[in-house]
């Protein structure tokens, strides 16, 4: 797509920003598809399909029962309609709920046995499933010190996990990182203890569907006191046509542990919309910290809104222990429709939740995304920074909740959400809910770009900058600060995003 040549942009909007958005959301680079023989379950969903998925994953009976009760519940639920998104009604019986490459019928014992076609797919996406230190496509990675550059990858292809790297090395540290289907087989006690405790099987329409039919996903357990020796990452690829992807991620950070987790997603360019309904559950125990970063780049559909992924995702972290911490960072550039609210339940005293988001919607894309910060414990802190950019005929909505419960004394929240419109055919919306039920907590919600920290401004001005320069510096510095929260592996995307400034934006 051309760099918005035909669009008149209002004064004050940085041309560099416009170009960066155009470059990011222009041609979809991952729209190719892998020719590979697949096994499908019959189309549609019913109890037989639920049982079939469960048996394909060789699950114990309790898991099958859990799925079946979720399925029963799903039958009584209605699709949510409150989001500001508009799409044709989904025919849930016209989707394949399970699709597996034929070569995965017998689970490969190691990565060496994996179908080369699959490995090639990931290599082409820049995600080599080899235990090599350097990630392709990251500039400057060669010069970085050997430590800290390793990333263990769990690759999910349609309905199954293809392989997980660095498992042995992680095992040495005591970290369990595998597909969720393996975890259900090998670590049933952990799965049973934690699965569905953050996002209950009956949570919402899509989460309940996911609970019934999830086919695979990632599982992470970091034992007490362990700092995970490398970044963990899951890469989701939808390849098959008319297939829904329902993956489930469960991350447990036990007392005093730390883990950084990355998630990436892409899909081929097809003219029929596809459904992706994932659930991510994170449990953060005392003094533990989890960083969860997403670069979501599902196929967004073409400029007329044909095709693309419907991304209906439930992500929630439960900061159970005192002084626990979770940080969500998301860069949302893909998907035809996004419906996603990564949330934090701040249950432990002094726990912290952070949410940084950049959502870019172009052409006919619709994004309704945000976060929930539920403060239950004393002295809990949360921070929300959301930047939404709309172009073309896209609609971008920030929807969020900040809730201070009566017992969450001395808690703090700071929310800032800015929106930028490029062109006059798109829309930007903000729907924050703020509930304050005690007076020792402070909640600040703000959506202005003009409000820059006075001290920082004063400092810059005392160094001889004029007001405008000073504001630009502080604003850009702020945006970069958000992006720097992203791990280096997302550096490519992040670098492009740094060019984005939200001067001239609206609240």
């Amino acid at each position: 797509m051309a760099a918005f040549d035909e669009i008149e942009v209002k004064d004050g909007v940085d041309q560099e920003t416009v170009d960066a958005v155009s470059a990011l959301s222009g041609t979809y680079k991952h729209g190719w598809n892998t020719e590979i023989e697949m096994d499908y379950a019959p189309k549609g969903v019913n109890t037989d399909i639920v049982r079939l998925i469960s048996s394909k994953n060789e699950e114990p009976e309790w898991m099958t029962d859990w799925r079946l009760s979720a399925f029963e519940r799903w039958g009584q639920m209605e699709e949510p309609t409150w989001a500001m998104v508009d799409y044709p009604k989904i025919d849930f019986q016209d989707i394949y709920y399970y699709a597996r490459p034929k070569s995965m019928e017998v689970k490969p014992k190691s990565l060496d046995e994996v179908d080369p076609k699959l490995l090639a797919t990931y290599a082409k996406l820049g995600i080599p499933l080899k235990e090599q230190a350097i990630l392709a496509g990251v500039e400057g990675a060669e010069d970085a010190p050997a430590e800290g550059r390793k990333v263990a990858v769990d690759a999910v292809f349609d309905s199954v996990s293809v392989g997980t790297t660095f498992q042995a090395e992680l095992k040495k540290a005591g970290v369990i990182f595998c597909s969720i289907s393996e975890a259900i087989r090998d670590h049933p006690e952990l799965v049973k203890k934690y699965l569905g405790t953050v996002v209950p099987a009956s949570d919402n329409f899509y989460a309940t569907l996911n609970s019934a039919v999830f086919s695979d996903g990632s599982f992470v357990y970091v034992p007490p006191g362990v700092r995970c020796p490398m970044e963990l990452s899951t890469y989701f690829r939808i390849n098959a046509e008319n297939t829904g992807q329902f993956e489930r991620t469960l991350i447990i950070a036990d007392k005093g542990s730390y883990v950084s987790y990355l998630e990436g997603c892409t899909a081929p360019q097809r003219d029929v919309a596809q459904l992706h309904a994932a659930v991510v559950e994170i449990i953060v125990e005392e003094d533990a910290e989890v960083k969860y970063s997403t670069v979501q780049n599902w196929y967004p559909g073409d400029e007329n809104g044909v095709g693309g992924i419907y991304n209906f995702v439930t992500k929630r972290a439960d900061c159970r222990g005192d002084r626990s911490k979770v940080m969500w960072t998301q860069v949302e550039t893909g998907s035809a429709v996004t419906w996603k609210y990564p949330s934090c339940i701040l249950r432990g005293d002094d726990s912290q939740g952070e949410f940084y988001s950049i959502a870019i919607a172009n052409n006919m894309q619709q994004a309704d995304t945000g976060t929930k910060m539920v403060h239950l414990g004393k002295n809990t802190k949360s921070r929300i920074v959301s930047k939404g950019i709309s172009a073309g005929k896209a609609q971008n909505t920030y929807r969020g909740l900040v809730s201070m419960h009566p017992k969450a004394k001395e808690s703090r929240n700071y929310t800032q959400c800015d929106s930028l419109l490029i062109g006059d055919k798109c829309g930007a919306h903000t729907v924050p809910y703020i509930e304050v039920k005690n007076n020792s907590s402070r909640v600040e919600h703000e959506a202005t770009t003009s409000k820059v920290d006075d001290d920082q401004l004063f400092y810059c001005r005392s160094r001889g900058m004029d007001e405008e320069e000073a504001v630009a510096l502080v604003v850009n510095g702020f945006c970069k600060e958000v992006l720097q929260a992203l791990p280096m592996e997302f550096a490519m995307e992040a670098q492009a995003l740094v060019a984005i400034s939200l001067e001239g934006s609206v609240g």
Binding site: W82, I434, T448
Partner: protein, 429 residues
Amino acid sequence: MALAKLKADTTEARLEGVTLPGAAAWSNAARADALARVRQMGLPTRRDEYWKYTDPTSLTVPTAPEAALFDNDEGPLFDAVDRIRIVFVDGVFDPDASDDLSGEGLEISRLADAMATDIHWAKDLYGVLEARGQNPVDRALAALNTATATDGVVIRVTGKASKPVNLIYLHRDVASDAVLHNVIKVEAGAEMTLLETGPAAARFSKLLEVDVADGGRFHHVRAQGRDHERRAVTHGFARIGEESTFKSFTLTFNGVLTRNECVLEIVGDNATAHVAGVCVGDGTDFHHDDTVFITHDAVNCESRQVFKKVLRNGATGVFQGKILVKEGAQKTDGYQISQSLLLDDDSQFLAKPELEIYADDVACSHGSTSGAIDEDALFYLRSRGVPEKAATSLLTLAFLAEALEEIEDEGLAEELRDRLESWLQRHSS
């Protein structure tokens, strides 16, 4: 499905035995249309998203809950202002207590008289602005008001009104259930000030429709409440024309339940619309809800929402504000601030400040904060010898100042400020 049934049941229970007052053909049609809207939308229940923070049950039950009378020895508001007084006692016009319904630049008549006249200008407004305001959010209680209103006034402003009109709502009967509907047409270049005061009734439904033609100016200052057990739902619907001005300020004291909905539609270029409100509440039986919806459908217009709440002893404050900027409404300047001061740990503030924007050359911002009195400021004042109560009162008034400044007439603002100060003194222990 259960929700749909609940709504239908609530609606039918309320409408049972309701007969619409009969008058001229146009008014009968307006009422019948409104009743159809009520049935089609259904009365609100707690499960409606738009009533997430306020329970509408006591507003929708067939019989109004009783409300005791309350007297705090304060004289009537705005007594020193030269004004035209129009008095309603428990929702019924009282001609003896009212002034002569005439004034320079004003044509005033009782709603019933207007509705009995076959050809009347109010035909183009009665229920018309209310119906326009039903999209995109249902306001079934407003439609119910249009259908069943028993009294009210219609005012046509033909020039610069020589003095303000004061609608005085007296509450004398502990079981009164009043439904009033007022219609105001501000003609091109005309100007008026409307004052509304008093607790009105045990349960009060009031609707105001205002059409401000090009270059018109409409000022509105009201002080509601006083009686602790009173319940009220009020709606204001305004259509705002080119280069015109609409300014409304509401002060709310006390009241078990108050829901003020303000729905403004800016249709002419270069117009200005300001809505502001202050509420002060003491006790768990205080619930106050400001719900504002401003639609910008014209170029180069300004809108401002300033809402401040002071809450103590378990009081609840709600703010739902929305700015909708339609496609093509360029150069819009939209500002919205909602702030609450929680004087103790039991009070709560629930807010939903929304923006919906479809034009790119606009400046819209919103802010919302909530918290306790600034300890540093309090400490400073006390270190200068100001007693704690007085210091708290001073800081509270300072917090409210931004909203009070929205009242253009300084005399009116001063009087409300004095009332606030004495309320704070009465409720400082």
